[in-house]
């Protein structure tokens, strides 16, 4: 058998591996301000180009241009900047705490902060969020105390998950943020079901959910799009295309042949491709999709084009599979720097204020950590009582679980 010679299975091109020069020529860009903004009530068939173009508001000079400019007031922009910066500083320190052995695992959202922060801000607090593990910014926007997030990371006595979940798998019932699953993509159709229920109940809230471009290969992605389309559910389906899924380039998730946003029109729903590092564009597009959903226009698929600037997780080393200084060449820049530049440009911010805010937030993170560790840690204790592991399997413990709990107590002496 001479198999190798004639082989011609196509394999998606990966632009730059270690040792090669970064190459982002494959990213299709539109100039800021260039993409028209249809009415949120427009018919799907009139929206197809939105799924291949790239909605952008902030141009290279830091000006907000074009029809998608959401015209937020400076106060809102400053809040956005603050949330993004806090997210990043929080990530920074947690990464270091993991390296120091204080927590077992961590995942940063470095370079993608605009996604969670701008989208979170564009939605109502009563809208239900179904995040992936890289949406910590949503918790920040919704006002979760850092201490609470940290206690989860520490699996300590105040861990909202009672020690059951890996670090970063937060949730918040009070803030309408659903529990993160270690199983990729499962939240996507669940969000659709939540939105269907809102429609059935005649309530005005919508659901929003996030998935990595790599995870969009899972069946759940298809189920979500299909059910959302069939029942015209009030849901916003977000694909965060940060170009990588651990070591796997987005071409392997189908991004080589066409944009992820283009799946939307394929299923008969609006699909929009947006500059994910442009706070204003992300905000505007989300606002548009929310208006669409709330006025009975059904679901929208948003592809947020961004870059995973950090490693996948603390278990990962991207130097093994991608060009070393890739992130610096990313054509859409850094979301924090871009919003900062804009605020300075419009005279509503300064380097000094930025530094001050940075110091303030860093201190907040530091003091929160100090407080969090007073509730213990997995490594050094105290932890919650191990007995708790038998609870919440069911609403009430079954006789079988009660028996096992007693056995475990005996075993531990």
């Amino acid at each position: 058998m001479q198999m190798v010679k004639k082989s011609r299975l196509h394999l998606p091109r990966v632009p730059a591996r270690p040792g090669e020069a970064p190459d982002f020529g494959y990213v299709q860009l539109s100039p800021a301000g260039a993409v028209a903004r249809p009415e949120a009530t427009a018919r799907v068939r009139d929206l197809d180009t939105l799924s291949v173009d790239l909605v952008r508001v902030l141009d290279d000079k830091g000006d907000a241009v074009g029809p998608w400019n959401p015209h937020l007031d400076a106060g809102e922009l400053q809040v956005g900047l603050r949330h993004m910066l806090l997210t990043r500083l929080f990530d920074d320190r947690m990464q270091r705490m993991q390296r120091a052995g204080k927590i077992t695992f961590y995942m940063r959202s470095l370079g993608e902060e605009a996604v969670s922060v701008a989208q979170g801000m564009a939605l109502r607090p009563s809208d239900m969020l179904f995040p992936s593990y890289r949406n910590q910014g949503l918790h920040i926007v919704r006002g979760m105390a850092l201490v609470d997030l940290m206690c989860q990371l520490l699996s300590n006595t105040k861990d909202m998950c009672k020690g059951r979940q890996l670090p970063v798998m937060y949730h918040s019932r009070a803030n309408n943020i659903f529990s993160i699953s270690g199983n990729l993509a499962t939240q996507f159709p669940q969000a659709v079901g939540w939105a269907m229920a809102a429609a059935i109940k005649g309530e005005d809230n919508l659901a929003a959910t996030w998935i990595g471009e790599g995870s969009s290969a899972e069946a759940d992605f298809h189920h979500a799009l299909l059910f959302a389309s069939v029942y015209q559910a009030p849901v916003i389906l977000n694909v965060v295309n940060n170009q990588w899924a651990i070591s796997t380039f987005q071409g392997y998730a189908g991004g080589e042949q066409r944009s992820f946003a283009a799946r939307g029109p394929g299923y008969g729903m609006a699909g929009i491709r947006v500059d994910g590092n442009d706070f204003l564009a992300v905000y505007a597009v989300t606002q548009w999709a929310a208006e669409r959903a709330r006025t009975g226009g059904g679901p929208t698929l948003i592809e947020l084009v961004t870059y995973r600037s950090a490693a996948h997780s603390t278990s990962d080393d991207p130097a093994r599979y991608r060009a070393k200084d890739d992130a610096e060449h990313w054509p859409l820049g850094d979301p924090i720097l871009r919003l900062k530049q804009h605020l300075i440009k419009i005279g509503e911010w300064s380097e000094e204020r930025h530094l001050a805010m940075s110091a303030e937030l860093d201190a907040l993170v530091a003091s929160s950590w100090k407080q969090a560790v007073t509730f213990g840690s997995l490594a050094e204790g105290p932890r919650l009582d191990a007995d708790l592991m038998f609870e919440d399997v069911f609403k009430e413990m079954t006789p079988n679980l009660l028996r096992q709990q007693a056995l475990m107590r005996k075993e531990r002496g």
């Binding site: 019932r173 979500a224 059910f227």
Partner: protein, 335 residues
């Protein structure tokens, strides 16, 4: 009522009683379901509450979970238990785990109804009994009724339960009890005491087995279709068997089981599913662990074979009276 009517009545009552109850599934709405279990319910409660779905079991279960998280109480129908696997990940990784991983902050009170078992010439993809698989997944309750009265009461309890339930309906029992002999004329439920079903609301608790026949010589632990086969086989052999219908596999009524075996000293476990790693293994294990010193003979398992359920050899596969009798004979042998 036959079992279909009893199930229909349960859903009818729950739709009427609790506005958060919704039904979803393939062909269940306008048409009323391929087995007619939801007949008339869409007309009565509207398309917003009795919802036809795409053919996507994974999507049905996932969206049911989402609805459950938003305060509804969804009852999803999977057209055949053989078709539950495309939704398996959402059951195992999500439905079963949401309460646990969120430390009780979130839960989805979903009931999944699905017809199981053979005996209708359905071939290998319309005959499976996959209950054992679900009993191995912590966080899922597993129910299988053997008659209309229980079916209705158990379904109402399942829908009201805040934990997820997979509710298996032995389809061969829909229209009448079945003693394992396909050549005998079919008997309707109307002639059976358990076919006498209250019109109104009532519950049958989960986790409480039913001793369908008290006896002294041997305990037969079973559920679903095999309850009737066991009754017939024991009667035919004139064995004074105590026959236990589990009704719910999770939670399991180990007390009733063990009390009985400690009394009789002999035990047969019977189900229609494949033997290897079937639920019979768990039952046998519990009895062995708890009642070892009372046993006068090895516990016997009566099951389907470790093959798919073949269309043409359905009755050779099905654990009929001959197989039960042979187990009873073995277990009754003096030591």
């Amino acid at each position: 009522m036959n079992m279909i009517q009893a199930l229909n009545s349960a859903m009818d009552i729950m739709l009427g009683k609790d506005p958060s109850v919704v039904l979803m599934g393939e062909d269940i709405g306008y048409f009323g379901g391929v087995f007619r279990a939801t007949e008339g319910l869409q007309r009565k409660y509207g398309e917003q509450r009795v919802i036809d779905s795409p053919i996507a079991e994974g999507g049905i279960i996932a969206t049911a979970i989402g609805m459950g998280l938003n305060g509804l109480r969804p009852v999803a129908e999977i057209q055949f238990a053989d078709y539950i696997y495309p939704g398996f990940d959402q059951v195992v990784s999500e439905l079963a785990r949401i309460r646990y991983r969120s430390a009780g902050d979130f839960f989805a009170p979903v009931t999944i109804r699905t017809p199981c078992g053979g005996g209708i010439r359905g071939g290998q993809t319309h005959s499976q009994s996959p209950e054992a698989i679900f009993t191995h997944v912590s966080g899922i309750k597993v129910v299988m009724p053997s008659n209309p009265y229980d079916a209705k009461g158990l379904l109402i309890t399942s829908i009201e339960d805040d934990d997820p339930v997979v509710f298996f309906e032995p389809k061969r029992l829909y229209n009448g009890p079945f003693d394992g002999d396909p050549n005998k004329p079919a008997v309707p439920w109307s002639a059976h005491p358990k076919g006498q079903v209250d019109q109104g609301y009532y519950r049958v608790p989960l986790g409480k087995a039913d001793i369908v026949r008290a006896g002294a010589e041997v305990t037969i632990i079973t559920y679903g279709t095999m309850v009737h086969v066991a009754l017939a086989a024991a009667a035919a052999m004139n064995v004074d068997a105590e026959i236990i219908d589990l009704r719910s596999l999770v939670p399991l009524d180990a007390d009733t089981i063990c009390t009985s075996v400690k009394k009789t000293g002999r035990c047969v476990v019977a189900h229609e599913a494949t033997r290897f790693s079937g639920f019979g293994a768990e039952l046998l294990s519990i009895v062995q662990e708890e009642c070892f010193w009372f046993l006068e003979a090895p516990i016997q398992r009566v099951t389907g074979w470790d093959t798919p359920y073949p269309h043409a050899f359905e009755w050779e596969y099905f654990p009929g009276q001959a197989r039960v009798k042979s187990a009873l004979k073995t277990v009754m042998e003096p030591a």
